[in-house]
């Protein structure tokens, strides 16, 4: 059985763990640590929430009509190239 990792090891490789990129032995060891460490469980949950918030941060509808002067400038370059 793989030794129980420390909080430092868990948080350092949390991204790999969360992406499912750790080998099964190490994943099991991480999960044993998470079972007994509320602080790392809290960290994992807030880390995942952070990623979801990031992905949502730019979801506001943005510009839909392109600026006419930019369109004209690009097409002008195209015609003179």
């Amino acid at each position: 059985m793989t030794a129980l990792p420390t909080c430092r090891e868990v948080l350092e490789f949390l991204g790999d763990y969360d992406a499912g990129e750790l080998d099964p032995m190490r994943t099991a060891a991480f999960e044993r640590h998470l079972e007994v460490c509320a602080s790392c469980r809290n960290y994992l949950v807030s880390y995942r929430v952070t990623i979801e918030l990031e992905k949502d941060a730019f979801a506001d509808p943005g510009l839909s009509e392109p600026p006419e002067e930019l369109i004209a400038a690009i097409l002008s370059i195209r015609r003179t190239a």
Binding site: R8, L11, D16, T50, L53, D56, A57, I77, R79
Partner: protein, 240 residues
């Protein structure tokens, strides 16, 4: 009309990345459509295939086709270049760079990805080229936002849970998160934008940034940790 500004900072080897983006189920409305078709022979004009029709018209030099392409793609390109450059003026210049590069590369475009996806990549590379060309600024360290540990490896300050209803006010949350992303050093901010916001794969982000996939993974993890730390007081209601 004044002569439009014209820049060609895009690195030739970064111009044409035609690796198809992995199709993702969670694409949001502001995204460009994921590439759907594998490599195909030279497209033939056909009413049933508007993309192939447009490409054929572009290759024939049809001015209306160029106008259609520029008009359709510019809003999405401005969004991504604005996020990367944090300057509307520079974003416009980067979009211009991207179209100039795309027009030149069009004869070599092999339709292995959608036209829009291809130009979108070129625009990302144009924005990154501009970012690299800026005067070097001392980057702040992420260290103060990374977790700290005591000698035996335990967290120095235990992580507290975030309330389930934290961030219920969506617009304010988005502003907070965008502000937090803007506080990151560029080398981390660009990785977050390319991987988590633009949803490039690790390989694609590494290629665009000219760094290893390992470096992309490390920077992404640290950037997410820093963002978590920046949001933590507010999410727990300890900061206004």
């Amino acid at each position: 009309m004044p002569c439009p500004r014209r820049y060609l900072f895009v690195r030739p080897h970064l111009l044409v990345s035609q690796v198809p983006r992995r199709a993702r189920a969670s694409r949001r409305p502001h995204r460009l459509p994921a590439p759907v078709q594998p490599a195909s022979p030279a497209p033939q004009a056909s009413p049933a295939d508007p993309e192939a029709d447009l490409l054929a018209r572009l290759r024939a030099g049809d001015e209306a086709a160029y106008a259609q392409l520029v008009r359709e793609q510019t809003p999405a390109l401005l969004r991504v270049t604005s996020r990367l450059l944090r300057s509307d003026d520079e974003a416009r210049d980067a979009v211009q760079d991207a179209f100039v590069a795309a027009f030149r590369a069009l004869p070599r475009f092999r339709a292995e990805s959608r036209l829009g996806t291809w130009i979108y990549r070129i625009a990302i590379n144009a924005a990154l080229a501009r970012l690299r060309a800026r005067a070097t600024v001392d980057e702040v360290s992420l260290d103060e936002w990374l977790p700290r540990f005591v000698e035996d490896g335990h967290q120095a300050e235990p992580s507290e849970p975030w309330p389930a209803d934290a961030g219920a006010e969506r617009r304010e949350v988005r502003e907070r998160v965008r502000a937090a992303i803007d506080r990151l050093p560029d080398s981390y901010r660009t990785v977050v934008l390319l991987r988590d916001i633009e949803e490039l794969t690790t390989d694609e982000a590494a290629q665009a940034l000219g760094i290893s996939t390992g470096a992309v993974k490390v920077r992404l993890h640290r950037a997410r940790q820093a963002l978590r730390a920046l949001l933590d007081p507010w999410m727990r209601g300890e900061a206004a």
